[in-house]
């Protein structure tokens, strides 16, 4: 180790790999419905796209997890995003193509993508 910058570089590279274990550091939770209905409708590629997009942008403090059947199977794949201290937003009929926009507008800039939400389409 020749410099502090080198240490910092390792830390930065590793931090998003371990941030999910720091309970209080999580600001945003992305929860993908992954019951049979969700998986059948293509939830897995959606979830993987979220993971990849978050990684690509180097976002810290965001976790992606999965849940069971949210209850409206016809609207799957469904994704719920909870930003700390804000109301949960539910997206429906998600596809991998829509993920980048949701990450950019909702998670990064704090403006939910209205037209993908359950309130707009449902």
């Amino acid at each position: 180790m020749k410099s502090l910058a080198e240490l910092q570089a390792i830390r930065n590279r590793m931090i998003d790999q371990v941030s999910m274990r720091k309970d209080d550091s999580i600001d945003t939770r992305v929860v993908v419905g992954m019951a049979t209905c969700g998986i059948a409708a293509g939830a897995r590629p959606v979830m993987l796209e979220f993971v990849e997009e978050i990684k690509r942008r180097g976002l810290e403090n965001v976790t992606v997890s999965q849940t069971g059947c949210i209850g409206m199977c016809r609207l799957e794949p469904m994704v719920e995003i909870t930003v700390k201290d804000q109301e949960k937003v539910t997206y429906i009929h998600m596809s991998p193509e829509k993920v980048a926009r949701v990450v950019a507008e909702h998670i990064v800039n704090g403006r939910p993508v209205e037209e993908y939400t359950i309130g707009y389409q449902g």
């Binding site: 240490l7 390792i10 274990r21 069971g68």
Partner: protein, 599 residues
């Protein structure tokens, strides 16, 4: 590796390893690979989570679900339900991990066992992979060393440690900063930094768990200490009975060297430091600082007289500091977060936290870390979950063979160094053995004396001969052969051993006797004068009796008795021939009518 969305942290500490967590890890890896999930779910073998009673334990992130008593056959359900479908397997969760409504999972810090804890020395245990230096770095590892080498002078470092009020966690409670200051003041071209990982108290496993769960914290702290006093070589003296700790420490040292965090010119500052592990053969006396240094030098593990103190003339005759594992584990965070932060925890004279290994008659056997000043009641009942079988708390033994017993009347004592000494016990390294109404205190004193007699190195007469004589008296008492004057003899012997023994082991060896005499003198007296053991533990003093009013003459006890000493006709009260009775208690266990009593 890029798509990891979930981490499965499985405890790989000694406790869980012995309840087969290695097989659980293998099963996770196998099933995840079969499902093609091995690129999204990462399995990490961590250090101790603390709740050894519930082992093997695993935590699944990001949900933070705490699964307890995980068997290999449970793994399939966790993979299938939780990791594939995102449905938490509620019946496998730790019983205290659910909210009242039995629907939502509590976050870990709200679980009773963790609620009152404050993990500083154990902060990374159960959180990182101890065999991966990069995970340690991600949790701010080596930032303290970087800060020290680039921004602070050795005097700044020592002042910070002094200001923090950190005291030695190995038992004595000597201010760590002062120790460093003395060693810095000694002029020598060569100095050493040592770490005492020769944890020898029966029932103690704090240092072991730190080395197993967060070895880099110790390495980093030793490098900081070396910079502060002007040393370039360190040794960790660890007992060979800790194979997992030794292995992880060796891996950690190797990684630190590869990353240039040990070796020459660290962080390009010209500071050199390297370290090695030395294995002890499990002699209790080698936890004593001068004996430990003798042992590192390859000599017999016998203490040397002090002064000169190690800070002046220690390892290989050079100025040396020796700190305990837990003490070191606190250091990096004090540097990063500051002395004031550290002082916000604990009491005025004992800053910070203390790790205790809870054992004995307690529900949540395991490792807990609480701020100093937490009461014994909180540790035993709120965190430890109380005594099994609803029995009454009798005493807590702290400080191992050098410590003493804290009686029920002192349950509300705020645990810190000075309070414990004031009531005749000591902090010790942190072993805490809980005893209930069934434990005989004379027998406990005998147990600890037996241990010290065994472990005495034999160099000085008070310890070699004195403790042996004390043990003989105690053995007589528990066998019902105690005589008038025995208690006084014990007291005289104890006093002279305390004042004349060469090292800490001998000087503190009488403590278990003195503290039990202080609080449970009546038990000694009952043994000696009434030939009776109030707790019903000392076999020689027990007699089993059948209450003729309660006995229905079912003959069950007579059939159980291995000595054939119970006689009586069917449907008539039975009688025990006490001369032949072996006092095994088999009859009492079997009696359905509670007719048999002992006393």
């Amino acid at each position: 590796m890029d798509l990891i969305r979930s981490h499965v942290m499985v405890c790989g500490g000694t406790g869980c390893t012995s309840s087969n967590s290695a097989a659980v890890i293998a099963e996770f890896e196998k099933l995840l690979a079969e499902k093609g999930l091995d690129r999204e779910v990462k399995v990490v073998r961590t250090g101790c989570f603390g709740l050894c009673e519930a082992g093997p334990v695993c935590i699944v992130y990001p949900e933070g679900c705490f699964y307890a008593h995980v068997k290999t056959e449970d793994v399939a359900r966790i993979v299938e339900e939780h990791l594939v479908k995102g449905r938490i397997v509620k019946d496998l969760l730790y019983k205290g991990a659910m909210e009242e409504d039995k629907q939502t999972v509590k976050s870990l810090d709200k679980v009773d066992f963790y609620k009152k804890q404050k993990r500083v020395a154990l902060r990374n245990c159960g959180v990182i992979d101890p065999e991966n230096i990069e995970e340690y770095i991600a949790f701010d590892g080596y930032a303290a060393l970087g800060k020290v080498l680039t921004e602070m002078s050795p005097d700044d470092v020592i002042q910070t440690i002094l200001d923090s009020g950190l005291r030695g966690r190995g038992g004595g409670g000597f201010p760590t900063g002062l120790k460093w200051k003395f060693a810095k003041a000694s002029v020598s071209e060569k100095k050493y930094v040592c770490c005492n990982a020769d944890e020898g108290d029966p029932g103690a496993f704090m240092d072991r768990s730190i080395l197993e769960g967060d070895p880099h914290a110790v390495i980093e702290a030793m490098a900081i200490a070396a910079y502060a006093i002007g040393a370039d070589q360190g040794y960790v003296y660890c007992r060979a009975e800790y194979p997992i700790a030794v292995k992880r420490l060796q891996i950690a040292i190797k990684q630190a060297r590869e990353y240039g965090l040990l070796g020459k010119n660290i962080f390009g500052t010209g500071f050199n430091f390297d370290m090695d592990v030395r294995l002890g053969a499990g002699a209790f006396v080698c936890g004593e600082e001068t004996a430990l240094m003798n042992s590192i030098e390859g000599m017999r593990g016998e203490p040397r007289p002090r002064p000169p103190f190690p800070a002046v003339k220690g390892l290989f005759g050079k100025p040396t500091i020796l700190n305990n594992v837990e003490t070191y584990a606190n250091v990096p965070q004090i540097i990063v977060k500051g002395a004031d932060w550290f002082k916000t925890m604990g009491t005025a004279k004992s800053a910070g936290t203390k790790v205790f290994a809870l054992g004995g008659k307690i529900n949540n056997t395991g490792l807990v870390e609480v701020p100093m000043g937490t009461t014994l009641r909180e540790v035993i009942y709120d965190i430890g979950g109380g005594i099994p079988g609803g029995k009454a708390f009798k005493a807590a033994q702290t400080g191992g063979p050098s410590g003493g017993c804290i009686p029920a009347s002192e349950l509300d004592i705020e645990i810190d160094y000075d309070n414990l000494v004031a009531i005749g016990s000591m902090m010790g390294s942190g072993g805490m053995i809980v005893m209930d109404e069934d434990n005989c205190m004379v027998d406990i004193a005998r147990f600890f004396l037996d241990f010290t007699v065994d472990e005495s190195c034999g160099k000085c007469a008070p310890c070699r001969i004195g403790t042996k004589r004390m043990l003989e008296i105690l053995e007589r008492i528990v066998e019902g052969k105690g005589e008038d004057g025995d208690i006084e003899k014990l007291e005289t012997l104890a006093e002279s051993i305390k004042t004349t023994a060469l090292c800490g082991l001998g000087q503190t060896a009488p403590n278990p006797v003195l503290s039990t005499l202080k609080y449970y003198r009546h038990e000694y007296e009952a043994h000696i004068y009434e030939k009776r053991c109030p707790a019903g533990q000392c076999k020689a003093l027990l007699t089993y009796k059948i209450d003729p009013d309660k006995c229905k003459g079912c003959t069950l006890c007579a059939r159980q008795c291995p000595a054939g000493c119970i006689s009586g006709k069917v449907r008539e009260p039975h009688v025990i021939d006490t001369a032949k009775c072996l006092k095994c208690g088999a009859c009492m266990e079997k009696c359905k009518f509670g007719a048999i009593s002992r006393g």
